[in-house]
């Protein structure tokens, strides 16, 4: 693993959402060792929304497999701003699911980072660093709400296939358009 930056993250506020109490404790203990002061835990989505509303965490570490609704649906609800949650909150998805379609589903739901279980201190910290160092523009399109999915270094590693859903805010081709025209439209 490449050398990670040395950040002091004690002021970041975390919410860990995982129905597995044992693994939730492990993540909480790791964050504690990282110096994080405010660590909130939720075993289900209802508890999570209450914490989101009351404490406004900066980063959510969320498991895919939750009771009642999945972490993917939970992410979609957050991105839509349901229950007064901050739609732009960073979501690190923590899961043992490894099928390509599952990773794509999570990405299209609007997660920020994907972290495959089993977890290690290094891998969790590397995703936290990525959220801090590489914030991506937040898109609210007709069919997608979440951080820009098309960054150069794709954290999801699922290839660069174009999706139909991208058309809400995506590229339809280049054409012969000058940068001046584009900048003028954007008031640059």
């Amino acid at each position: 693993m490449a050398e990670l930056p040395t950040f002091n993250i004690e002021n970041l506020r975390f919410l860990i959402v995982d129905g597995d109490e044992n693994m939730r404790n492990v993540v909480v203990n790791i964050l504690q060792t990282f110096g994080v002061r405010e660590r909130f835990e939720a075993s289900n989505v209802e508890e999570a929304f209450k914490i989101l509303k009351d404490y406004k965490p900066d980063i959510i570490v969320c498991e895919w497999e939750l009771d009642n609704i999945s972490g993917v649906d939970f992410t979609k609800k957050i991105r839509k701003g349901e229950d007064y949650s901050d739609p732009m909150v960073a979501i690190i998805f923590l899961t043992a699911h490894t099928y390509k379609w599952q990773i794509e589903n999570a990405r299209d739901a609007g997660i920020t980072e994907y972290l495959s279980k089993p977890i290690s201190a290094d891998t969790l910290y590397s995703r936290i660093c990525s959220v801090i160092e590489n914030p991506r523009p937040f898109i609210e399109g007709d069919t997608f709400i979440g951080p820009d999915r098309r960054r150069q270094h794709d954290p999801f590693k699922v290839g660069n296939a174009r999706r139909e859903s991208d058309k809400s805010g995506g590229e339809d081709g280049d054409g012969e358009i000058s940068d001046d025209e584009i900048n003028a439209m954007l008031g640059m």
């Binding site: 950040f7 993250i9 492990v26 498991e63 523009p137 809400s168 805010g169 054409g175 008031g187």
Partner: protein, 233 residues
């Protein structure tokens, strides 16, 4: 009347700009470039840019723009690009930083719970064993039993590798995939699940850490074949 496409850009400072296209094939590429640039601009300078494309049933550009302003044009698509929350403001580069020493200490938090993992795995394996016993009986609510079995298999998968038991994570992952691929449960499916549970039990009893070496490879190869057969059905 002809359709005229209008692209509208609105910024947070309330400035609005319009561009009209009598040739619809040119509106798409312009939209794409605009969107890409909007992402660059918000990424660099912050702010918020809202772009919308309208289809106006008008004969000329001026009338189409007026139709959009009057709310009489049909919206084709829209997107809003905003600068993301900047967590760097809450992060410092001094004081209680996460360095190699802290990472090592944090990893020890996980490693110190290795014995707990064995307990948890045995509990999950007992639950899986009970699920299989229920599935063997006629009249069982198979879906709910499979859901319970999946939960236990998934927990083992999530936990194993974290505590050095990579092989059990791979077997657990296999079992999850087998369960997800099942529509109904035949006696051969139960046998397939049983093979996985037995294999995981061996890993725990023998405390086979890591990938299990040559034996581990052989086990995974055999389970690959089982999964392939089920997924092909």
């Amino acid at each position: 009347m002809n359709a005229v496409f209008v692209i509208k850009v609105a910024r947070k400072d309330n400035t609005e700009k319009y561009k009209t296209f009598e040739d619809s094939s040119k509106a798409g590429p312009f939209w794409a470039r605009l969107f890409k640039r909007a992402m660059e601009v918000t990424g660099q300078n912050g702010g918020e840019i809202k772009t919308e494309m309208f289809d106006a049933d008008e004969t000329d550009a001026e009338a189409a723009e007026k139709a959009v302003i009057a709310g009489k044009a049909e919206k084709v698509k829209s997107s809003k690009v905003s600068s993301p929350p900047n967590l760097k403001n809450k992060v410092r580069l001094f004081g209680n930083v996460v360095d190699a020493k802290v990472l090592k200490k944090a990893q020890k938090v996980i490693d110190d719970r290795k014995d707990d993992f064995i307990l948890w795995a045995n509990e999950d394996l007992d639950r899986l064993f009970k699920c299989l016993e229920i599935l063997k009986k006629a009249g069982a609510d198979k879906k709910s039993v499979l859901d319970r079995a999946f939960k236990s298999a998934y927990q083992i998968t999530c936990r194993g590798g974290a505590f050095g038991y990579d092989l059990i994570t791979r077997i657990g992952d296999h079992l999850c995939k087998v369960i997800l691929a099942l529509d109904d449960v035949s006696s051969s499916d139960i046998k397939a699940m049983q093979v996985h549970v037995n294999a995981m039990r061996v890993v725990i009893v023998q405390k086979l850490e890591g990938d299990g070496g040559a034996l581990g490879k052989e086990v995974i190869k055999g389970l690959d074949d089982v999964l392939m057969k089920i997924e092909k059905r």
